[in-house]
Symmetry: C2
Subunit: 296 residues, 2 copies
C-alpha cells in the first residue's frame, strides 16, 4: 500500500483551525494561533470555543466545522486545536473528498486513519494549543514539512528493543485511539507498514491489554516493524514495574524489529512525523529514516 | 444463535479454582475458599499464588492451569480466583474442548466470550476472592444456578433509558474487556443478543470511547437491546458530568431498548447472571427476566 502526498502549503496561505475533539482553554489557543499566524492566514469558525462535557460542542457542530474546512478548496491545511476525545464520534459521517494536509495527534489518530484510508499522507504533529509551548525547532520543522517535499532528517539514538531493519509506510499514532479502530471500517491498510505508537496516562497493564488487542486482531502479522514514541505518565505508582520493561516484553513477543525513544507524543518535545510516508526503521542501529515527505 | 446449557454440578463435586488473570492476596482467597468448600470439593494448583507484575504467574503457568482444569472430566466447574488483567493473553492458545461451568467476571469476560464462541453458556458471577464479602443471597443464588436448570427470578426496578421490549441470549460483560475483543476471532456471535455491560474506574469520556467503538464496529446493528450493570467509580472528579448522563445519552443514540441498574458488576452486590441464556428485557417496565438457566 502506498499513500499519496498532499498539496504543499505556502507562506501566507489560508489554513483552518478546527476542534473535532475536546474543548480547550483560550489562552493556549491564542498563543498557538500567534505562532501559526506568523506563517499562514488562519481562520476558524465562531463556534470553535464551544464546550459540552468533554467535547468541543455537539457532534453536529464539530462535524460541520471539520467537513467545511476539508471541503473548502481555499483552505490549504487543516490544523486541530486540541485532541482529548471526540474525533471518533465523527467517523461515520465525515467524508474525505480532497487531499489536504491534516495536522494533529493523540485523539486525531482517528482522523489520520481516515486520511490514510482515503490513500493520503497526513501530519502527526503538535495540536495548535501546544504550538506556544513547543520549541522553535519543532515549529520550524512543522512548517518545513508542510512546505517542502524533502523528507525530514533521520531520528538517531533510538533504543533497540528487537534488532532488525525494515521499510514501509509509517502508520499508527496514539495506542489508545488506534486500538479503538480495530474491528471497524476505519483501520488503514496495515500490510507492510511500520507501526508507530505513543500514549499518555495508561498504566502498564493497560498498555499490555491494548498491545494484546493489536496482537489478537492480527496486526503484528501484517506490519513489518514497530517504533515507539513517548509513553508519558504511564508508570505504576508503586514502582513494582515500569512501562519500559512491559513494552520491551511486548515488543519481544512480536518478534518484529522494534525501537523506542522517538521524541514524539505527549512529552515536552513532539517532533512532526509524516503518517503514510515510507520510512526505514533500522532498529539494530536505533535509526528511523523518513524516505518521503508529506507534500508533493 | 443459541447457546447450550452446561452439565449441572452437585454438592460434593470436585471443582477447580484457577487464576488466569491477576494475582491476589491470600486472605481473600482463603475466605472465598471457605465459602466454596462448604458446598464443593475445591482443588487448585500449587502455582496458583504466583505473581509476576500484574499477572498470576507466566502465561505458560496460567494456561496450563486453565487448560488442565477444563480438560479434566473429574472437574465439574471452573472458578476464577480473581479478574484484574491477563485472560486475554491466553486466548490464542486456550481450547474449549468440553462444556463445563465457568464462573467469574470482569477480566474473565474474555474467557466467557470463548465459552460462548464454543456455543456454551457460562456464569458471570463473583470471583472466588470476593465470595467472602458477597452476602449469603448471592452465594446461594450462585450455587442454585450451578445445580438447577431453573431460570433465576426476574430483576425488577431497573431504570428505563430507552423503552421497548426484546428477547435474546444475554452476552457481554465488562465493557473494557469486551471491546478488546472487537476485530479479533474471539467475539461471540452477537446477532439478536441482549448486550450486558458493566465497568469500573473508567472516566465518562472513556465510557463514551468504548461505547463508540462498539458502535463503529456495528455491534448496535446486531444486538436487540442493552442492559447495564454497575458502573463503579466511573465519575468525573470535578463533578462536571456523570457517568449516568453520559451512558443515558449513549443508550439513546443506539435507539435500542435499554435499561440500567442491574445489581451486577464491581459494586457491593454482584448477582450471578447466565451468559448465553435467553432473557426478556422489558426496558419499559424496568425488568430483565431470565428465560433459561445455566445447566441442563
Amino acid at each position: 500500500m502506498t499513500f499519496a502526498p498532499v498539496p504543499r502549503v505556502s507562506p501566507g496561505d489560508l489554513v483552518a483551525v478546527v476542534a473535532p475533539a475536546g474543548p480547550f482553554d483560550r489562552e493556549s489557543f491564542d498563543k498557538g494561533l500567534q505562532v501559526l499566524s506568523r506563517r499562514y492566514r488562519a481562520r476558524h469558525d465562531a463556534g470553535l470555543f464551544a464546550a459540552e462535557r468533554y467535547l468541543a460542542g455537539s457532534d453536529a457542530r464539530r462535524l460541520a466545522e471539520l467537513q467545511g474546512a476539508y471541503d473548502d478548496p481555499q483552505v490549504r491545511a487543516v490544523f486541530a486545536a486540541r485532541g482529548g476525545y471526540g474525533a471518533m464520534r465523527l467517523l461515520e459521517s465525515f467524508q474525505v473528498r480532497r487531499a489536504v494536509p491534516l495536522i494533529g495527534f493523540s485523539d486525531l489518530t482517528a482522523l489520520h486513519a481516515v486520511a490514510q484510508k482515503a490513500g493520503h499522507r497526513s501530519l502527526h504533529a503538535p495540536v495548535l494549543t501546544q504550538l506556544g509551548t513547543q520549541g522553535a525547532a519543532v515549529v520550524e520543522r512543522l512548517f518545513a514539512t508542510l512546505e517542502s517535499p524533502a523528507p525530514a532528517p533521520a531520528f538517531q539514538g533510538l533504543t533497540t528493543l528487537v534488532p532488525g531493519s525494515v521499510e514501509g509506510p509509517l502508520l499508527g499514532g496514539n495506542l489508545s485511539v488506534f486500538t479503538r479502530l480495530l474491528g471497524t471500517p476505519y483501520l488503514p491498510a496495515l500490510d507492510g507498514a511500520v507501526l508507530f505508537l505513543e500514549d499518555v496516562g495508561e498504566r502498564p497493564y493497560r498498555l499490555d491489554r491494548m498491545w494484546t488487542h493489536l496482537a489478537l486482531a492480527g496486526v503484528f502479522r501484517r506490519v513489518r516493524g514497530v517504533v515507539l514514541g513517548d509513553f508519558t505518565n504511564c508508570e505504576e505508582k508503586d514502582g513494582s514495574h515500569t512501562s519500559t520493561e512491559v513494552l520491551t516484553s511486548l515488543a519481544r513477543e512480536t518478534g518484529l524489529p522494534c525501537a523506542s525513544g522517538l521524541p514524539v507524543g505527549h512529552g515536552a518535545v513532539n517532533v512532526p512525523l509524516v503518517l503514510g510516508a515510507r520510512v526505514r526503521l533500522d532498529a539494530s542501529r536505533g535509526e528511523l529514516t523518513p524516505l518521503e515527505g508529506l507534500v508533493a
